[in-house]
């Protein structure tokens, strides 16, 4: 198996956390995993990008030039990666903040930010995207993902962990 995922959005939308979570969910059963973040010079408000590669074989470079899946959280980021949206690529778009791109990829639209707002916290849109992605491509099981969410947020208060789990499940069912 080989799954190369590009995740991008605005700084502060939890793009890096989303990528890290996906990578750590796969640690137990996918032999080769890389996660690579890159940021703009701004700490907040710039574009945030990360790549996750899940593979049965050794990974030469943590940065790929082609992708099997692309997750996009806002319009500016979408425009940056629109050329990467090839035919065999699955594209998940946060339709609350993005227009649906006219590409040949299979596009799944997720109303992530609005759904997050409905849950009471706009910041959990990233885990709604994760849920929607795993619903479309079950590279890891929902159980593994939820375990990773709990591990990653260990030490935070219970209501925050439950909110994130709820967001993930909302995405999974959307």
């Amino acid at each position: 198996m080989l799954e190369r995922i590009l995740i991008t959005g605005a700084g502060g939308q939890g793009v890096i956390l989303l990528g890290r979570l996906l990578a750590s969910s796969a640690v137990e059963h996918i032999p080769h995993i890389t996660f690579f973040p890159s940021y703009g010079a701004e700490v907040r408000g710039g574009t945030s990008v990360c790549q996750v590669i899940l593979s049965a074989k050794e990974i030469a470079s943590p940065l790929s030039e082609t992708f099997d899946s692309i997750l996009v959280m806002n319009q500016i980021s979408l425009e940056n990666v629109i050329r990467q949206m090839k035919k065999n690529c699955l594209v998940l778009v946060n339709s609350s903040l993005c227009k649906i791109p006219p590409v040949s990829s299979k596009v799944v639209s997720v109303d992530a930010t609005r759904l997050a707002d409905n849950l009471g916290d706009t910041r959990v849109a990233n885990f709604i995207m994760l849920g929607a992605y795993l619903a479309a491509k079950p590279v890891v099981t929902p159980l593994q993902a939820e375990k990773s969410i709990r591990e990653l947020l260990a030490g935070k208060n219970m209501s925050l962990i439950e909110l994130n789990i709820k967001a993930f499940r909302t995405g999974l069912e959307s």
Binding site: R20, A23, S24, V27, E28, H32, I33, T34, F35, F36, P37, K57, E58, I59, A60, S61, P62, L63, E65
Partner: protein
């Protein structure tokens, strides 16, 4: 299978240092190694170890000198411009024969350069860097697992030979996450520290020095150092050989470049081209003989680096004109593309071998 954890390369180095028994870490902020300093700030005090954010890279390496002189394990980390500032201190460590671990998470240069990954500090790391006739052991990991394992080894070698050891890596390996298995052993043993300045109780005072003004004294020290280096050359050369038994094109690359070279080899092998890789794990001492042996039966050698061709010079020394040596490199934070490496391999494999002579 042992439990794997997901970590950045930089964190994996920090975690390894703690598991290797590092008594004190001294750092100063510079991208792309800041994760190490932050990791140590959090975890060294938890383990009752010393952490100081020094006022400069210069101060940090000299704090390392003090801790090493006291007979304890010390580490510092930085990135290219900061490592330049540490060179005087590294020369002093070598001259005073003190063990220390220095991590260079390389970025693009020269000057302030950029924060992209690079391998352009190869000359500085392997040929001296500071003043005087000295060497440091240089270890070059190519995965997060090796960032961890080679840090353990670095402490072991530093203690064994009383010499500075550098982990030479780059921003990509530092910032990327991969699963790894953590070191579970005990800290590597240190030599008896009869030389340390830790209080002259029931013994004559110890002096740690690198100034030798009496005629001949300094040459004697240098002869001793060179003997030590000869021993290190004999015992500590490490490299990974992949598909070199039958290869007609030999790639030589380390660190991030080696990983991309591995990708290129897998892709040309699928097309029936016999390419292999020799990946130096110790950049000093350098695996000259291993390269020379393989070079005897290949059409050509291809060196891949994120520099203008620094390790290239050592590979040419090893090959010694037996076969042509080619180069694929990027500079200033650029990373070689798998596709361009593949192209070069293909063109070398089409070469007619000259026979006779």
């Amino acid at each position: 299978m042992a439990t794997r954890v997901l970590m950045t390369g930089n964190d994996a180095i920090g975690e390894a240092a703690i598991r290797a028994g590092c008594d004190a870490y001294y750092g100063y902020p510079i991208t792309p190694q800041n994760e190490i300093t932050a990791f140590m700030a959090l975890h060294m005090p938890e383990n009752n170890r010393v952490f100081i954010q020094a006022e400069s890279e210069i101060s940090a390496i000299n704090m390392v000198f003090g801790t090493a002189a006291a007979g304890k394990r010390a580490m510092t980390s930085s990135s290219s411009p900061g490592i330049s500032l540490k060179q005087e201190g590294i020369s002093f460590l070598a001259g005073a024969e003190l063990p220390a671990v220095i991590v260079n998470v390389q970025r693009g240069g020269p000057g302030l350069g950029n924060i992209a990954p690079s391998q352009s500090d190869y000359f500085q790391a392997t040929k001296g860097g500071g003043h005087g006739d000295y060497h440091q052991i240089v270890l070059a990991p190519d995965s997060v697992q090796e960032m961890h394992d080679l840090t353990i080894l670095a402490f072991k070698l530093a203690g064994k030979y009383r010499t500075p050891v550098m982990i030479l890596t780059d921003g990509r390996l530092g910032q990327m996450m991969e699963p790894l298995i953590l070191y579970k052993g005990t800290p590597p043993p240190m030599q008896r520290k009869a030389w340390a300045v830790n209080g002259a109780i029931n013994r004559k005072p110890n002096f740690i020095r690198s100034l030798y003004l009496v005629e001949g004294e300094l040459e004697t020290l240098n002869i001793k150092l060179q003997k030590k280096y000869a021993g290190i050359r004999q015992k500590e050369i490490r490299c990974e050989k992949r598909l070199t038994q039958d290869c007609e094109v030999l790639l030589v690359a380390y660190g991030t470049s080696a990983r991309i070279a591995k990708g290129a080899i897998a892709s040309v092998r699928a097309a029936g081209i016999r390419a292999g890789l020799l990946r130096p794990i110790t950049l000093w001492p350098f695996p000259y003989d291993a390269i020379a042996r393989i070079a005897k039966h290949v059409k050509g050698v291809l060196v891949v680096e994120m520099s203008s061709g620094q390790m290239l010079e050592d590979v040419k020394l090893a090959v010694n004109g037996h076969v042509p040596v080619f180069f694929e490199g990027r500079m200033g934070g650029g990373v070689p593309l798998e596709s361009s490496i593949v192209k070069k391999i293909k063109s070398i494999s089409r070469r007619k071998i000259m026979t006779g002579h």
